[in-house]
């Protein structure tokens, strides 16, 4: 076990997977000579050469589609899309092709590929560079969508994604790259499709994922220490498949739930979670399920506006208090 950053965990896992399997190769814009826009692939070109750490032109539809074809012939491409916003340019290849090829051709061709891409706002990158559109992909059968929140999950889920026989959208978050945490040594693989209870509790469930799952855990710890509120935190880790049972079992225990998500409110991940809870734990609910999500505007550049639009710990604490107060919870 070592304490490393989320960035380092990703880098180390890419490196160990390149060593482990000669069919694994990386491709993306500026991942080689430039070492990646966020330096995840630093040093890998030198170590593995240009065939396995392949710089691509700016052609998202072209190189994402090329990864699909390479995967169909048995390679295991790991594509970096500089940010999730640019994945929109490759939407046809991801949704109409990567997600469909296995089923549409009667199970004859696997598509073992990974698309790594960071989402997230808060960096003053303005409207087109700050989106959280993971739910678009989570809507599509045939894809897997994983959203690691910690360095350990960055390692375990990336290894699992690369070894997976289906196309995986591996969604990172710009604000997580420098966060640190304990990461197990050696070969470490985390099963896709299972949520984690990162803090146990009895009073309220906070359901979250990616960067917001880290925020949720901080808030839960603070509430425990400062107010004696026992919040349970469910980190989804995977949006497709979604581990509904873990969510529902937690709410059956606590009777209250808040979803914290960085994407826009309407039709967002939280809507699916809330629907799951009301169907699976209706009789156990003491209060309506609340969602803390981004304001529904194209994210502005100016810092005061950006801060106002994004969900944060303060908003989460407010909603937790409101939910508890609505049920006359004594705190």
């Amino acid at each position: 076990m070592a304490v490393i950053t989320y960035r380092q965990a990703l880098h180390d896992t890419l490196r160990s997977e390149l060593i482990r399997d000669p069919n694994v190769f990386l491709m993306g814009e500026e991942i080689g000579v430039f070492e990646g826009s966020y330096k995840i692939t630093a040093g890998l070109l030198t170590e593995f050469g240009p065939e396995r750490v392949r710089d691509t032109p700016i052609a998202e539809e072209g190189f994402v589609g090329a990864a699909i074809g390479a995967a169909m012939l048995g390679l295991r491409p790991v594509v970096e899309i500089m940010t999730i916003n640019f994945s929109i340019l490759a939407m046809d290849q991801i949704v109409n092709h990567a997600a469909k090829i296995h089923a549409m051709f009667g199970g004859q061709s696997k598509v073992p590929m990974v698309i790594r891409t960071p989402g997230g706002g808060g960096q003053q990158l303005a409207a087109t560079h700050s989106q959280n559109i993971e739910v678009w992909y989570a809507h599509v059968p045939g894809l897997k969508v994983v959203v690691p929140a910690t360095p350990a999950d960055a390692k375990g889920l990336l290894a699992a994604s690369i070894r997976d026989d289906d196309p995986v959208m591996f969604i990172e978050n710009l604000a997580l790259y420098n966060t640190k945490g304990n990461v197990p040594d050696g070969d470490y693989v985390t099963e896709i499709g299972k949520a984690a209870v990162t803090k146990e509790g009895t009073d309220i469930t906070i359901v979250s994922y990616s960067r917001m799952a880290a925020v949720a855990l901080d808030v839960a710890k603070r509430l425990q220490d400062d107010e004696g509120v026992s919040a349970e935190v469910v980190d989804l880790r995977s949006l497709r498949p979604l581990d509904r049972a873990t969510i529902v079992n937690s709410v059956k225990k606590t009777g209250r739930a808040v979803v914290l998500e960085e994407d826009w409110l309407s039709y967002g991940v939280g809507a699916e979670i809330a629907a799951t809870i009301q169907e699976g734990a209706f009789d156990y609910l003491d209060a309506p399920v609340r969602r803390v999500a981004a304001a529904e505007v194209p994210l502005p550049y100016a810092k005061p506006l950006e801060l106002a639009a994004l969900p944060d710990a303060t908003a989460l604490v407010k909603v937790i208090h409101e939910t508890l107060d609505a049920t006359r919870f004594r705190r």
């Binding site: 092709h97 549409m104 051709f105 009667g106 061709s109 299972k194």
Partner: protein, 365 residues
């Protein structure tokens, strides 16, 4: 029009036929008649497909290769079994010419379990691993980046040479205007990929003429921005298609030089079975009839003595019986059952994969 094509290096095969002619295009009469049989098989298969569509045995969209038989047979005869083909939604003939049992192709059109894609794909999505047909694709241009990536996989595994694999990526004339093609051409050029982009130019998008859709309507020239060479060939001449394809494959295989091969022919029917093609005048329809590649090839066989009328009539009868058997096979094949609905959702089992049918509760007890 097309630059002179390199003649096939293959010597004419010996034949016992007591004909004065030894064939043409460097082929034996026997082989030339085999091409005819293949063209006629595709023709009759497609005519029966139209009929089955009108009888509602076939659903969805149904695009036919009618008028493209010479192109299909010529191109496919040049490919090696180890080569890969990515094609479009107008691909029944390609599947047959790649050697897939026609009954399995018709069964896919019928949506049956015996179909090449087990009833999951239908007319637009034929696929067969054994034949290395890596898909008909329903999204216009969708096949091009994956085909380019398949060529990347071949290049990843080793250098070119006479025994290596090549990817053939077929696309229609209107697809030459799609960005995905241009991104892919660029990738193929900078990475030196073993791929041939075959543009089937039947002169019409759905109803839009090439000249109204393409800034450079000489489609074989459209790789010039990427220094990718192109050749145009008469798509009504199977021998010319075959020879042009052989050279394009050689370039890709041995020199890792991607290229464009444009085959020009005329679609004899509408865009799909349900399109009455009202955008065509009576004169145009008559002209197309006169240009029918099967009629022309048949005449060529007889004129050169490579076949006589009786031989061709016998082939026609044989094909007719075969296609009837094909339809019968499809019609007698089982429909898939709903318990198979999630069979191909993922390639390997995954925790918490959804399996709910409409109306099912979200959480299983």
């Amino acid at each position: 029009m097309p630059p002179a094509q390199k003649k096939s290096a293959a010597p004419a095969k010996k034949t016992s036929a007591a004909k004065a002619s030894s064939g043409f295009g460097g082929e034996s009469p026997e082989q030339l008649r085999a091409y005819y049989r293949e063209m006629q098989l595709i023709r009759r298969f497609e005519e029966r497909s139209a009929e089955m569509y009108q009888r509602a045995k076939i659903g969805g969209y149904c695009h036919l290769n009618l008028g493209e038989e010479a192109t299909v047979v010529g191109l496919m005869s040049a490919m090696a079994p180890r080569d890969y083909l990515f094609t479009t939604y107008r691909e029944h003939g390609y599947a047959i010419a790649r050697g897939i049992e026609p009954g399995r192709v018709m069964a896919e059109l019928f949506g049956r379990t015996t179909g090449v894609s087990k009833g999951w794909g239908g007319s637009m999505h034929l696929f067969d691993v054994e034949a290395r047909l890596l898909g008909g694709y329903g999204i216009v241009g969708g096949q091009i980046p994956p085909a380019t990536g398949a060529a990347l996989a071949i290049a990843y595994r080793g250098p070119g040479g006479p025994d290596t694999e090549v990817v053939v990526c077929q696309l229609g004339d209107a697809t030459t205007n799609i960005g995905a093609w241009h991104e892919s051409l660029n990738l193929a050029a900078i990475w030196k990929l073993p791929i041939v982009y075959v543009v089937i130019n039947n002169r019409l998008g759905m109803g839009t003429p090439v000249e109204k859709a393409a800034g450079e309507p000489d489609l074989y020239k459209r790789g010039c921005a990427y220094r990718i060479p192109g050749v145009r060939v008469d798509g009504n001449d199977p021998i010319a298609c075959r020879d042009a394809m052989k050279e394009a494959l050689r370039l890709a295989r041995e020199e890792r030089q991607p290229s464009i091969l444009e085959a020009v022919s005329w679609r004899l029917r509408g865009h799909s079975v349900v399109d009455p093609a009202k955008y065509r005048s009576k004169e145009e329809v008559q002209r197309l009839h006169d240009l029918d590649p099967l009629t022309a090839y048949r005449k060529r066989l007889i004129d050169t003595g490579a076949a006589d009328a009786a031989q061709l009539a016998a082939i026609d009868d044989e094909v007719e019986a075969q296609v009837s058997a094909v339809v019968e096979f499809a019609d007698n094949s089982p429909h898939p059952t709903p318990d198979q609905l999630f069979a191909h959702a993922y390639a390997t089992p995954v925790a918490n994969a959804p399996r709910e049918l409409p109306g099912d509760p979200l959480l299983r007890a």
